[in-house]
């Protein structure tokens, strides 16, 4: 206004109330040429800018006594925190690296990590990591009691898994969707066969029966598609067709499991250490996300039965501690089973952990669904997308992007909760490491610290990796808010 019509504007302002003369002189002022574009002050850019903004901004104000006191207080606090961080970091590095015992060439075992007072050769007051102990126990910490001759099977499972996963995660590579499908379908079957040895006793009758059932269901689906079955039964027949393929896939998996690949059978009771942690965590993560999504959709469904069942499921599993779930799985479940039926303990724990985290996942996903505007549902409906299409193409991609932090939070929680399976006699990473501490041959004051340091580091690497990848995903998928 002022720029366009300086005269009238000034008059109006004048008419309303008297303005101090300095302002008055400016009120009618109009720029006759553009103001120059100036570079930002040094406190805004570059190294000095960064230092100023991040460190000195809060402690460089000495204009009054109170401001100076505040600046001084913050400066002292900063120094104290820096000192604390430095001593802690140095202490950790000293413990883990500089003062640590790295090798035990003479096979002294515990004596290699003993000080003079304790009967060893190390100087008095020595207190640092005893790595030979970890070297000696590494196999147990990473693989548990898995037979040494067969460790290649575990390593091969890891290698193939890492290879496929890397392929899916690196965006420049081709066929990523296909590799992803492989990772979710063929890989688990292969991993189970490799790790357990396969050759389960499954009667040919079961496989044959499943095959026939599957084929029958598929034919019903075909008939429905061709229009021979109409009405409500027609819809059911289409569902039957889909189920048929699932049953056939199941039969194929059973058939593969029954094949004898000439691998030695290794009971899951012999699995342990990091292997167990990864098996439980990865199965839990991969299975709980889709299950959680289904539960969340169910809880928001307009069908009362689906909503009721989902709510009951979620509230039940959220209302029970994981330890209780695991105890139930290990103690109660066998009581309900018929005589002679033995359900693998690891499998029971896996199911328990998966259902438990699926309930949490469902609530995280539901939070994301609630953030989606009603207009998105209506937009999807109006162009004629079906319920599942609109969920898959419109609603879930947005909802899940919103709640990536929550989803990864649940994943990380699940990864760390795997440590609880040790209370039902499954030796996960922590359980395995802890059990090595009982070995008197390595009994030293630093034995426990060294073991726990290793466990903590491994947990941290995995959890931190997930956290970083989730932040990367968040940034990558955040295009809806890009302006």
């Amino acid at each position: 206004m002022v720029r366009k019509l300086p005269g009238t504007a000034t008059k109006k302002i004048k008419a309303k109330k008297p303005i101090p003369s300095a302002v008055d002189a400016q009120a009618g002022y109009v720029r006759s040429e553009d103001a120059p574009l100036l570079p930002p002050p040094p406190s805004e850019v570059g190294v000095t800018g960064w230092l100023y903004k991040n460190i000195f901004a809060s402690m460089s104000d000495f204009s009054s006594i109170s401001a100076a006191l505040k600046s001084a207080f913050i400066a002292v606090l900063t120094l104290l925190i820096l000192y604390f961080l430095a001593t802690q970091t140095i202490g950790l590095l000293d413990f883990a690296i500089f003062s640590a015992v790295w090798s035990d060439p003479e096979g002294l075992k515990r004596q290699a990590c003993w000080t003079v007072e304790q009967g060893g050769a190390l100087p008095a007051g020595w207190h640092a990591a005893c790595w030979p102990f970890i070297q000696a126990k590494a196999k147990f910490i990473f693989y548990g009691a898995y037979p040494t001759d067969d460790l290649w099977r575990v390593n091969m499972t890891y290698a193939i898994g890492v290879f496929l996963l890397a392929w899916v995660l690196i965006e420049r590579l081709p066929y990523r969707k296909m590799v992803g499908a492989l990772l979710l379908t063929v890989y688990p079957v292969m991993a189970i066969v490799l790790l357990t040895g396969g050759a389960f006793t499954i009667s040919t009758g079961t496989i044959g029966g499943a095959t026939i059932l599957g084929l029958a269901l598929i034919s019903i689906g075909r008939l429905g598609k061709a229009g021979y079955i109409t009405g409500a039964l027609g819809d059911l027949s289409l569902v039957a067709g889909v189920c048929g393929w699932v049953v056939i896939a199941f039969a194929v998996v059973l058939a593969i499991f029954s094949i004898d690949f000439d691998l030695e059978a290794i009971d899951t009771r012999d699995w342990g250490g990091l292997l167990i942690t990864l098996v439980v965590a990865i199965t839990g993560i991969v299975a709980s996300l889709p299950l959680g999504i289904l539960l969340a959709l169910g809880r928001r469904s307009e069908m009362p039965v689906a909503r009721f069942l989902s709510t009951v499921f979620i509230e039940f599993w959220r209302g029970v501690p994981l330890i209780t779930v695991l105890f139930m799985a290990s103690v109660m479940l066998p009581l309900f089973m018929p005589e002679g039926v033995n359900f693998d303990m690891l499998l029971r724990a896996l199911i328990g952990v998966t259902l438990f985290s699926a309930a949490y996942m469902a609530e995280v996903v539901r939070g994301g669904l609630q953030a989606i505007d009603k207009g998105q549902y209506e937009g999807a409906d109006a162009v004629g997308l079906s319920y599942w299409q609109s969920m898959r193409l419109i609603i879930l991609p947005q909802a899940l992007t919103h709640v990536i932090p929550g989803i990864v939070n649940t994943f990380i929680g699940l990864f760390k909760d795997t440590a609880l399976v040790s209370i039902v006699g499954i030796f996960d990473l922590l359980g395995a490491a802890q059990s090595t501490l009982a070995d008197a041959a390595w009994s030293t004051p630093v034995q426990g610290l060294t073991g726990y340091l290793v466990v903590a580091t491994i947990f941290f690497i995995f959890c931190f990796g997930m956290s970083r990848y989730s932040m990367y995903m968040e940034q990558k998928l955040n295009r809806s808010h890009k302006i």
Binding site: A382, L477, K482
Partner: protein, 258 residues
């Protein structure tokens, strides 16, 4: 597209795109649509106006089942609108809708927004869907924005994308639910121009709007609604110059008075 076993085609309905008979709807206790009778012929352009809360939006949202009517018969494009999901899907394929707040899909690019429904609902091959999408984006004059995301466009551009998205399904009927109400004044024109062009091409349209200039220029018929009823309908000249009911007169004096 219409499968004979689903369509309730009546002999005299051949030219009829919409027919509503004695339609009633309630939101809880509130009787929002009261005994609506309306029929729209192919190529007709209807403008629905009325005070807020009069049921205009609800009326057109009943036509593609975004709202469910409880009583009466609605048929669109000869297909009876009832609880049969197949019929609803079929009607939605033939009816395009443009919303007040655009309702574009923010996680998809402009082009993907337009290609989505043809690919997934009409099963159009990808290349062809892209061709269709580019055709309609060109028609609403923003082909150069195809690779951008909705968040990067102005309101007027977004609304034109929304029109293009609806057109990509090549509908028989277009519904506009206050398409310019959320726009800045300078952007209203570009959207209205697009709608005028669409009308000139012979598209059947039902448009809820307060743009009376648009109504005068484009509509065959203006419908005035108040308290859930169709109070008056007439050709635009007669409607604006010679309103019959007092309520219409009051409404017109209020919106044209300033």
């Amino acid at each position: 597209m219409t499968q004979p076993q689903n369509a309730v085609t009546q002999a005299d309905d051949h030219n009829k795109v919409v027919s509503m008979r004695n339609v009633n709807k309630w939101f809880g206790q509130f009787h929002v649509l009261r005994d609506i009778n309306l029929s729209v012929d192919k190529g007709e352009r209807i403008v629905v106006c009325g005070p807020s809360g009069s049921g205009k939006s609800t009326l057109i949202r009943c036509l593609n089942r975004l709202e469910k009517h409880q009583d009466g018969d609605i048929s669109v494009h000869g297909i009876e609108l009832n609880n049969d999901v197949k019929n609803i899907d079929e009607i939605r394929r033939e009816v395009g809708m443009v919303f007040q707040h655009f309702n574009l899909f923010p996680h998809l690019s402009i082009l993907e927004n337009c290609m989505l429904a043809p690919i997934w609902v009409r099963k159009t091959p990808r290349a062809e869907a892209e061709e269709i999408a580019m055709h309609f984006l060109t028609r609403v004059k923003i082909p150069e924005q195809a690779r951008k995301y909705p968040g990067q466009l102005s309101g007027g551009q977004q609304q034109r994308v929304a029109i293009a998205r609806a057109l990509c399904m090549q509908p028989q009927l277009m519904l506009f639910d206050e398409p310019t109400s959320a726009l800045d004044p300078e952007m209203i024109k570009e959207v209205l121009d697009t709608m005028v062009e669409l009308a000139d091409d012979g598209m059947t349209m039902i448009c809820v709007t307060h743009e009376m200039g648009f109504a005068r220029r484009v509509a065959n018929r203006v419908i005035f609604m108040d308290e859930g009823q169709i109070v008056e309908q007439n050709e635009p000249e007669a409607f604006f110059n010679n309103p019959q009911s007092d309520r219409t007169k009051l409404f017109l004096s209020q919106i044209l008075g300033h």
